[in-house]
Symmetry: C2
């Protein structure tokens, strides 16, 4: 099915970031003509090294999606738009809510407007987040679960979802939304603490630093290795049945933070301990979360292939090889 991407014009927003760069690399393998947009906002995860394997084969645009005029030109002729750009830090969204609004809402609204007017036949995949649900009322969380975000980021990502769905229904701009859960793997920004605990724990394990777990460590999560997420995004874009709808990603197994730490310890030596939740973190913590991804599996056949142990092994190998880029 992904053969259909060969020779297609594809735009990846946030294409120098974690998932975006892995997606761009896979798209080049599939024979697509890839353009990435990434404004390389400091600390947010974009990094030119991420696309070094394909640098000569892609176009790189360092525009900012909040610039509607830039975007109107950038989307012309695109067959597919994978919209991954955005602010992802829950904590940052509480410290600077208006920046989060700009990077998630204004950017997304600009994108669907640009596509509607300049490439109305394109297909759009928007990567949202399980954060839109807030604290799960029941597990696993299905797409029908109420949305009550616990931070500004969840609210703004939800609004961005709605723009995509509205433009699909109203203007026929084919758009689908994936709600990602904890994604980990190569090319994630792990230098600072902005991209979730998986990256933080991976960094500390590599540096041999002690890991502090907030709470008792029994919070359960579902983890997706980035290659599986890339596959999901591509399948969503190539599957007509996905448009106009929202789908969870997820994993067949769920792990507690303690189990995640144990898996890391099979590869690396480090100390770990438990401390009580800092106030600002507790406020936006959602407790246990794992998603029901059966709807997406039914429509696309997607099922994650890389289990946590294997994925962590590959991830650690990558960062050990490129530690000068990602850690120093």
């Amino acid at each position: 099915m992904l053969d259909t991407l060969q020779n297609k014009n594809v735009l990846v927003t946030g294409g120098l970031g974690f998932i975006g760069s892995n997606l761009a690399i896979r798209l080049v393998e599939l024979g697509a003509n890839v353009t990435v947009i990434d404004s390389l906002i400091p600390e947010s995860g974009g990094n030119k090294f991420n696309v070094s394997p394909i640098e000569s084969e892609i176009e790189i645009n360092n525009g900012d999606l909040r610039d509607a005029e830039m975007l109107s030109k950038a989307v012309v002729g695109m067959d597919y738009v994978f919209h991954l750009a955005g602010q992802v830090s829950h904590g940052d969204s509480m410290r600077d809510p208006e920046l989060d609004l700009g990077m998630n809402c204004i950017s997304s609204l600009n994108l669907v407007e640009a596509c509607r007017h300049n490439c109305p036949d394109t297909r759009i995949v928007y990567t949202s987040t399980r954060q839109v649900y807030g604290v799960p009322q029941e597990l696993p969380v299905t797409e029908a679960h109420p949305t009550l975000p616990v931070d500004v980021n969840g609210i703004n990502k939800l609004a961005a979802e709605y723009y995509h769905l509205l433009y699909d229904r109203t203007y026929g701009l084919k758009s689908t939304v994936l709600r990602l859960t904890n994604t980990y793997g190569p090319r994630q920004q792990i230098r600072n603490n902005r991209q979730g605990f998986a990256g933080i724990f991976i960094r500390k394990s590599l540096q041999g630093e002690a890991i502090q777990i907030f709470g008792d460590g029994e919070q359960r999560r579902d983890f997706n290795y980035v290659d599986d997420v890339v596959e999901a995004i591509l399948l969503a874009g190539c599957n007509e049945a996905c448009f106009g709808d929202v789908f969870n990603l997820g994993a067949p197994a769920h792990y507690s933070l303690n189990e995640f730490i144990d898996a890391l310890k099979t590869y690396r030596d480090f100390e770990s301990s438990k401390i009580s939740f800092p106030d600002d973190k507790k406020l936006i913590d959602i407790g246990d979360y794992y998603g029901d991804y059966s709807a997406f599996k039914r429509v696309t056949g997607w099922d994650p292939k890389v289990d946590l142990n294997e994925g962590l092994g590959r991830t650690l190998e990558f960062y050990q090889k490129y530690q000068k880029v990602y850690l120093s």
Copy 2:
């Protein structure tokens, strides 16, 4: 219960607009110290004449809520904030979605941020809209109904709701949200078509112009006279049990558009006819809507007092008296 507002410092955003000005007048009657903020954006409904009965008794600030710095100063010392400012036209939100985002999302985020930092003990009532539900899946619509807005305005108002609820839960900033339905009455901007069909029909009936109904006219709606809505807003602000939650307004009776026209015809002579829906209107039409307001009634005792016939009589009398201001 509303006696508690006496001598309190009260801010009404959008206070020169339709509901805002009626609210400000009532607040002055109740003995509150009233400040209104209204940037008088052309065509959006703000009108200094609206507050002429109380002009010498209130402060008027013509700042724009998108200006965070202005707002930070304006909220200092406020005991209550009634947040009514916003873009309300569904059609305009589709024609200029970014303006709607600014007037609804950025403004509301600025407001809760300003209050959190500068008047953390204030009480906030945010007036949202039934438009957040989209097309009703069942009637009457309760607050648990899924939210799937059919226009950009509904999406942005929903995000603004979430900001208020989040700041209530996370920072203890007491906030409640009312989802208003079709409100009509004196001081509505009826000169252009931006504030819903009730205002349009009222204008045409006053001018003796023929009214064209889109579709068969059997779409049912619930109508609230503005005095009842003002009472609801005040009760919400004075009732501790409302904070942190969302409530529908509504009416004990529902009327079709044909019945609304018939009620107007008991007062005025005009022709009416039916035409098929224009494409741009059909796209964002929600069909029948009426809300279940039993939750709000249970908590506050609120029940609309003015029925459609009486309300239309009072409304027409007002506009006949002041037609130079509102119609010419």
